[in-house]
Symmetry: D2
Subunit: 325 residues, 4 copies
Amino acid sequence: MMKEPIFDVAHLAHIEIYSPKVEESVWFFKEILGMEESHRQGDSVYMRAYEDFYHHTLIITQNEEAGLGHVAWRATSPQALERRVLEIEATGYGTGWIEGDVGHGPAYQFTTPDGHKMEILWEVEYFKPNEEQATPLLNRPQKRPRRGVPVRRLDHVNVLAKETNKNVEFLENALGFKVRERILNDDNTDVAAWLSSNSLVHEVAIMGDALAEKGRLHHICYWYGYPQHLMDVSELLVEHGYKIEAGPGKHGVSQAYFLYVIEPGGNRVELFGDTGYQVFDPDWKTVEWKGKDLEHAIIWYGSNLPQEFFEYGTPVRKKAAAPIK
Amino acid sequence: MMKEPIFDVAHLAHIEIYSPKVEESVWFFKEILGMEESHRQGDSVYMRAYEDFYHHTLIITQNEEAGLGHVAWRATSPQALERRVLEIEATGYGTGWIEGDVGHGPAYQFTTPDGHKMEILWEVEYFKPNEEQATPLLNRPQKRPRRGVPVRRLDHVNVLAKETNKNVEFLENALGFKVRERILNDDNTDVAAWLSSNSLVHEVAIMGDALAEKGRLHHICYWYGYPQHLMDVSELLVEHGYKIEAGPGKHGVSQAYFLYVIEPGGNRVELFGDTGYQVFDPDWKTVEWKGKDLEHAIIWYGSNLPQEFFEYGTPVRKKAAAPIK
Amino acid sequence: MMKEPIFDVAHLAHIEIYSPKVEESVWFFKEILGMEESHRQGDSVYMRAYEDFYHHTLIITQNEEAGLGHVAWRATSPQALERRVLEIEATGYGTGWIEGDVGHGPAYQFTTPDGHKMEILWEVEYFKPNEEQATPLLNRPQKRPRRGVPVRRLDHVNVLAKETNKNVEFLENALGFKVRERILNDDNTDVAAWLSSNSLVHEVAIMGDALAEKGRLHHICYWYGYPQHLMDVSELLVEHGYKIEAGPGKHGVSQAYFLYVIEPGGNRVELFGDTGYQVFDPDWKTVEWKGKDLEHAIIWYGSNLPQEFFEYGTPVRKKAAAPIK
Amino acid sequence: MMKEPIFDVAHLAHIEIYSPKVEESVWFFKEILGMEESHRQGDSVYMRAYEDFYHHTLIITQNEEAGLGHVAWRATSPQALERRVLEIEATGYGTGWIEGDVGHGPAYQFTTPDGHKMEILWEVEYFKPNEEQATPLLNRPQKRPRRGVPVRRLDHVNVLAKETNKNVEFLENALGFKVRERILNDDNTDVAAWLSSNSLVHEVAIMGDALAEKGRLHHICYWYGYPQHLMDVSELLVEHGYKIEAGPGKHGVSQAYFLYVIEPGGNRVELFGDTGYQVFDPDWKTVEWKGKDLEHAIIWYGSNLPQEFFEYGTPVRKKAAAPIK
């Protein structure tokens, strides 16, 4: 009889990114993407989209170089948290408990084999709107902002890894993620994989780092859900001199209607214009793209991806003289 | 410590509706909603939307009166199926196993307390495209049809019940559904409740039957995900003389961008034009609408619902002289 | 041989509305509809949408009662202006030249037979963006604002008249407007008519005043062109407590995807979410709606219009005890 | 005093294209773009979009090579037609009257200086729907088709010319077109120009032929008006193996939301997903793109144009060894 799926990770709770230009990054997320500032403490600014229910989903922390701070996952219960901690500890990648942080309670910290910092937690603080923010739409945490073209919620994170497979297996085995889609080399090793713990096609993607670096961030993604909003935000981005790296266009993998932009700190941000498709089938067979099928994997239609898309990550590193493919 | 959530139901697998005009119903689903016919057997026609992965998601069965045949849920594993069967049996609403049916394996049948027929199953047959239907988009089961304005997948079912609470509790306790939103009377009894087993705001809704009938269907819902498609299909509906009961408009509850139409057999069909919002929080507090908040619960903006919306269900029954509110 | 069409009126240049709450009106047009304030002088605030090329397209003037100030038409040339002035003078509805006003040169003033104040002019002042407003999109007068859901340009004006036909004929004969569509009574008298001097289906509509008043305003209309923007602005309108009178929905007449809202001063504002259709045929046969066809004239699909839509205008007047139909 | 503008050309009436694969071309326009076949005669098939009011707007004629057959303009009156014929005759590019053809009356034929065949006419035959096609939407000539993603109307034609300026001046002087936008070389000679006789930004564009050929077609364009439809038709195009050359994306020039595809006969077809902007100002100053501004002229955002876009036209010619820029 098949092994039962693991339901211990509920979803992506928040992401910390590093920025050498925190104020410019905050302006971008606030005035262009319509996000809200929740809190400031030390070198960090805490932000959220208007349909994010928790205290924050993004932390922007001052740092000399751009890059990924950490990624936090919420467990589906205190018991699920305990189970996952045991599994992570067994892998040797655990780094231990913290008592809590701004907006959440105790969290168990660990890294991926590639070194991306992550944590898993149960207790969260919910966002509470002030009088002006309060909305009569009871399933929405606050009014839709009147600034920019406001994103609705955090969607996913995409990281680069020196060695894809090892990291994918870690997420599958220690955390219970399912691989929804993968791009394969001819020898069936992973080029990239898209994983989720819920019905989203992916909450985390792992792509091979073309520069063979470790622990880099490819992009974080916020969600609109309406294709028109990618057109609308493109107007603001172009007129305000931000760099659209690619999009709008539609990926084959995940069917995401995408737009990629570089925020002032240097990190790539994806904006997601529809819902792609969702995986409700509990016995989902991973979609595998290889060989001749690859033609449609990256771009189903619309804007192509520049070469930079496959090399640029944060922290920024130069391409080696003899690039590793 | 909190009780862990149940993850034994994966999602809504298919729905059977009754139609006194099967061929006209099939024409509607095929030529207007762009659905595909999978199979015919006995008095039934089996259909699916082009992004439905299973053999079928809709069965239209010849019957003197319109109404609900049955609703099928897929379990998350064989073990989950066994657990749910034990729970259902314990409620006394179980009616026993069938060996299988067109497109799926063994299913355990039961009814809601109100009498709606349901079943839960594990083994399913997947749709296999023929040569002309095959698409290079590997995460899509077949090409997008060139007919009508094609819906993408089955979304949810909404049933009327004489007594709401009892049925909601049955779905919660026996099947592990979570109540995402509810509309309450002043005495806190349920007017209606929206439940799901996954991140969709609802896969099943239960609304009090204004005519105090039992076992009736309010509507089934197929998903577009793109608001423009509600405009597009409205053009076809009006020009072909179908009755749009309400919409496009946006509900407060579920944030669904909706369109309601009566199919030729008499059943109400909802078409869902966006994604509404989704529930990823494992500790979701049910959104409760009552009193003055109700103003925004039904209609957030757009088309109002006619009185008929609150009384008409299938099979069609006349309103009593002294209507039960 | 057919008489040649007249091409002397180019388009609707600007509209003045009266508001008893100028600051609240300005806040609405600026913060919700994303319009720009161009100038303030005396009791008036001058505004424009971001794709309006002239100095202003809207004047909001302090007044005890809401209503229409005046409507300005731009001629297609100085010669065309002269020709129209002669024709208007001949009708007896001319009231004479003014030397110029904020944002434009000499204008010839007149009224419709019903008493709506209008003017026709040639010389206009163009909007010049400041450094921050300047955009690299050379065919756009300024950057898209980051406030609200910004409308793109002035579209049309709709006035109520005690006697429709007489006013329609005045616009046809004195100004050269063409009647694109009309709704007729059984005796073929006009209920309402939609006229334009260019390819828009209408720049001005005249509807019979159900209260038999003279000179009232039904609504002014600004254009989005994208259906999603009606959904987006609806979010802001509902959350900020503005009254959506009707929409989004699609008219049969003009095929306009509409939204009607009452601005804080009391005037009705339409927001236009697509392009409807356009009339390029120089020999266009007026579309006539009467009898059984009327069912689809007002609403093609979507939100219905409340009774208020057919009676409410500015200045606000009470319905007579015995309403004139 | 300024010279009055000429209003003698009303709009683009129809286009004839040549196809070496007529049946495949017809299938494409019918099954993918949802167009209707009006008539067949000799080597030609006559087609129209569902909101085209005339008998046809496209003629596909069997020919060894793809390319432009002819372009037809409708005058604004019989008198306007006479005036234009006199002007054209004076240029020496007139080729004489024909008595009429399928769907229209007498037409005066001429060529551009570059050799593109054109005609101007007054009398047209209107499309009359059969019973099944008839719609209750009286301003629409027929029901929206249920096939493909149906385009709504013919929009414009774009031709390549060996020498841009001479052809632009011909259209200005002989026909009264106005130049709405132009791209200029550093010496202020035209690279390309966009012209119209009505409020559309362009009904005809003339671009310098990179291969220094004469009389070639760059593309014809049909209009959707809704951005989503470019996404929808892209699905059909990719799944059916048609080549999307570029898009969806938004041009700076004209603000058109575009998609370019090669039809089976080899001709490029643009699909227009919004309204861009319109020119109502009778004193419009031509927008001029040159030098550093050019960066935003071709692509405002979205898909880039491949090099092929600037070289490929029909009939297909090879690039010379030393290409003329």
